[in-house]
């Protein structure tokens, strides 16, 4: 057990910090082109696709180096690369399950943001029970014909391609008849509609597919292997960015402490109230425990172990923490926490005034409700933990036997 960074890691951290100081955008990125330009700059500096194989444009870097870059970016609140799902999910899926042609065709363009990606998994009637999905992909000889509807598609508005799960064999059990495809979105049979969320913004979309076409070359893995592939990509979603996420929480926490110095009750700053101090002390302890957890995950990744079902524990813990943290922030800030156009600037209460509404406490509070739903709700995570880590018996289910429909 040694929780220090090596001299090499520290030197790399310094190098990343210096690069960010010199290259961080001075003004918020407003257009897609500006976001893509920032993405390309990060890639050219060697800070994207760091763990991907070198022959496809990746950096072949260690997990620690990837964690350091993400962490340093979080320290300075740097804008995220724009092709997040391409980098986090589609790319790793193609690296593991794609064939040589697919790797050469798609990976580099994800890294350069020349092609933007989204993930077409959830459906209106298939949320937690993803394997019950109904979108059909029929084999038409030289291509597949896709019909169905997807929902909760982040980045659908700006995506060129989608990683699609569709049913290819309705006659077999539901987990066995699903396949994984790459679907080109700019075609007549695909209709992408933004979905307005409780935040008032539209990160998510609905995607309607009516006789949409997928070429045979864009089947990932073999027919019927889609469920296993999807579980792996959900695993990526659960494992990554662990340390950077905590660093972002920590910078928000310090903003909250600053706000608690400025706001008063009974003529005294909130930060002098023993009640508020107890709550601030408690939530900092919880935040630090999440950081320790992230270091454990990083240790596993450095050894080449996939966190597996352990990722469910980490995700459950930090997503529930994020809700508690934002609830406390709201409690401390009172009505100032609810302002979607920002608190009066002279009070200096917001998380980040540079990025507009997304830098308000109101937005962070509303957004915190998403973390315990997306990528497997807390309830699904607890099922996974119970069955796969604790070895508890599976529940009796009505859909275990028989064909999908």
């Amino acid at each position: 057990m040694d929780l220090t960074y090596t001299p090499e890691d520290l030197a790399f951290r310094k190098q990343v910090r210096a690069w960010l100081e010199g290259n961080l955008p001075r003004t918020p990125l407003r257009t897609l082109d500006e976001r893509k330009a920032w993405h390309r700059k990060l890639y050219e500096a060697g800070y994207l696709g760091m763990g991907w194989p070198k022959e496809y444009g990746g950096g072949g870097a260690r997990p620690m180096e990837q964690a350091i870059v993400a962490d340093e970016m979080a320290q300075v609140n740097a804008p995220a690369p724009t092709n997040g799902l391409g980098l986090g999910i589609v790319g790793p899926t193609v690296v593991v399950h794609g064939n040589e042609w697919q790797k050469k065709r798609y990976l580099q363009k994800i890294l350069t943001a020349e092609e933007m990606w989204c993930q077409l998994y959830s459906e209106p009637n298939s949320g937690s029970d993803l394997a019950s999905l109904r979108t059909r992909a029929e084999d038409k000889g030289d291509h597949f014909l896709v019909n169905g509807q997807k929902i909760w598609t982040s980045g659908g508005k700006v995506a060129d391609w989608g990683l699609l799960l569709a049913r290819t064999d309705p006659a077999v059990a539901k987990h066995k008849g699903i396949s994984c495809f790459l679907l080109y979105l700019h075609q007549p049979g695909v209709d992408v509609r933004p979905l307005k969320q409780i935040t008032g913004s539209s990160e998510f979309c609905e995607v309607f597919m009516t006789n949409a076409r997928v070429e045979k070359e864009n089947l990932i893995g073999k027919l019927g292997e889609g469920w296993g592939i999807a579980n792996l990509t959900l695993g990526y979603e659960r494992g990554g960015r662990s340390l950077a996420r905590i660093t972002s929480y920590a910078s928000q926490y310090h903003r909250l402490v600053a706000a608690a110095r400025k706001l008063k009750r009974n003529g005294r700053p909130l930060v002098d109230s023993p009640v508020v101090r107890q709550k601030l002390g408690r939530i900092w302890a919880e935040l630090e425990v999440e950081r320790y957890n992230a270091l454990r995950v990083l240790t596993q990744l450095e050894r080449g172990d996939h966190p597996g079902a352990g990722g469910s524990l980490t995700k459950l813990s930090y997503s529930e923490f994020e809700k508690r943290f934002n609830e406390l922030a709201q409690e401390i800030l009172g009505p100032y926490g609810q302002l979607t156009d920002g608190a009066p600037p002279e009070l200096g209460l917001e998380i980040d005034t540079a990025v507009g509404e997304q830098g308000t406490w109101a937005y962070a509070f509303l957004w915190s409700r998403a973390g315990t739903i997306y990528s497997g709700s807390s309830e699904i995570q607890k099922n996974v933990i119970g069955e796969r880590i604790l070895g508890l018996p599976k529940e009796a289910r009505a859909d275990r036997a028989g064909a999908a429909r």
């Binding site: 057990m1 929780l3 960074y5 002390g281 270091l295 524990l313 099922n383 604790l390």
Partner: protein
């Protein structure tokens, strides 16, 4: 960066677990709960032979020269076994402050005696007030010739009835000093108080003009505050490690039970109401593991955040362990509420440690001071 145990640390855990599984089964624990002395002398001798008693002390004192991570491993296993006895009192409350602040002669005398199994120690850190630090110490130390005269009342002194020496903080004109007191000295009275956790023994220690020599002073006169803080951090860590062990044992028992208990024609572990509860318990146990071993490493390495890591650990694990041990009773239902079933041993052990060595309120205020400084 490596947040994992070394091979030696894994071997140490296996060896401690093996020894306690053999000599400290819950039947043994229950026998000790009925015993007036409260612990088994043969196991104490075995612990000396296995090197546990001298674990954190340097080799010249007969110790193993290991660190706080290893000590936390041993203590976690003791919590897991609900081990009754003065190990924590002797090694953590008595030995570590002497190691940190004792004179060469004091270390030579006491650390060697602890490591060989000859001496048991404890510390009298609590008085009438609920404060978790030295600020409220009212016991007085008056100069008397070369030495001092101590007067006051100490509460909740663990295992004082078997201690050969008690570390006693007391206030003099120069500030708080720490003394080694012989509990058999004239003017010392020990009164047993019975807490709900019968694997621990508490005593009220009266000091009525107790005379001690200059050689009883640990650290500089009036300058014990920082030594006491360092000692309390280690006590907080050690207590947390024991609570973690109690929590993990309670979780293990719950999972095993949920795999065999049937109701409504099904194993109760297949119900989400039970499975989700067990998953939440595991999350709390794993988070507590992170908190304990991070703090152990941090204190051992003298890391920048060592002080705060100990407070984070104690405040987090105290609450988590109480929750996990309590939910274990809930998972078991009626059987978990019976005296015959073992769960209450762990529930009570965790509960008694939660309130000692700084409760959550104390440590959260320390954290708040740190983050608002």
């Amino acid at each position: 960066m490596n947040f994992a145990f070394t091979e030696d640390q894994v071997l140490l855990r296996n060896s401690v677990r093996g020894a306690l599984d053999a000599s400290c089964r819950t039947a043994d624990v229950r026998a000790m709960m009925e015993d007036p002395q409260g612990y088994a002398e043969p196991l104490w001798g075995e612990m000396a032979k296995l090197g546990w008693l001298g674990l954190p002390f340097p080799e010249p004192y007969g110790g193993a020269g290991l660190g706080l991570v290893e000590l936390a491993i041993v203590l976690e296993e003791m919590g897991r076994a609900a081990y009754p006895g003065p190990y924590f009192a002797t090694v953590v409350l008595g030995g570590l402050p002497l190691l940190l602040g004792g004179s060469a002669a004091q270390k030579e005398k006491w650390l060697s005696a602890i490591a060989s199994g000859r001496a048991r120690l404890t510390a009298a850190l609590q008085e009438d007030s609920l404060d978790g630090d030295s600020a409220a110490i009212a016991t007085t130390a008056a100069r008397a010739g070369d030495g001092f005269t101590l007067s006051g009342t100490k509460r909740f002194v663990p295992w004082a009835h078997v201690a050969d020496a008690v570390l006693v903080p007391a206030r003099g004109p120069e500030g708080v000093s720490l003394f080694l007191v012989d509990p058999k000295a004239a003017g010392v009275t020990l009164t047993s108080t019975r807490g709900m956790d019968l694997t621990t023994r508490w005593f009220t220690m009266g000091l009525d003009g107790v005379k001690v020599g200059a050689d009883a002073l640990v650290g500089p006169p009036g300058g014990a505050a920082s030594l006491l803080e360092a000692a309390l951090r280690r006590a907080a860590l050690g207590a947390s490690a024991e609570m973690l062990g109690a929590a993990r044992r309670s979780l293990d028992m719950s999972v095993e039970y949920a795999k065999v208990r049937e109701q409504f024609g099904q194993l109760i572990g297949s119900f989400q109401a039970i499975r989700h509860k067990c998953s939440e318990m595991l999350m709390e146990v794993e988070n507590s593991h992170s908190a304990v071993y991070y703090a152990a490493w941090s204190l051992e390495a003298g890391a920048e955040d060592a002080a705060i890591a100990a407070s984070i650990c104690k405040s987090y694990v105290g609450e988590a362990a109480r929750k996990v041990c309590g939910e274990a009773i809930q998972v078991h239902g009626g059987i978990g509420f019976t005296w015959e079933y073992d769960l209450h041993l762990f529930f009570k052990r965790a509960k008694s440690l939660e309130v000692m060595y700084g409760d959550a309120e104390h440590h959260r205020e320390l954290i708040a001071r740190h983050v608002t400084a």
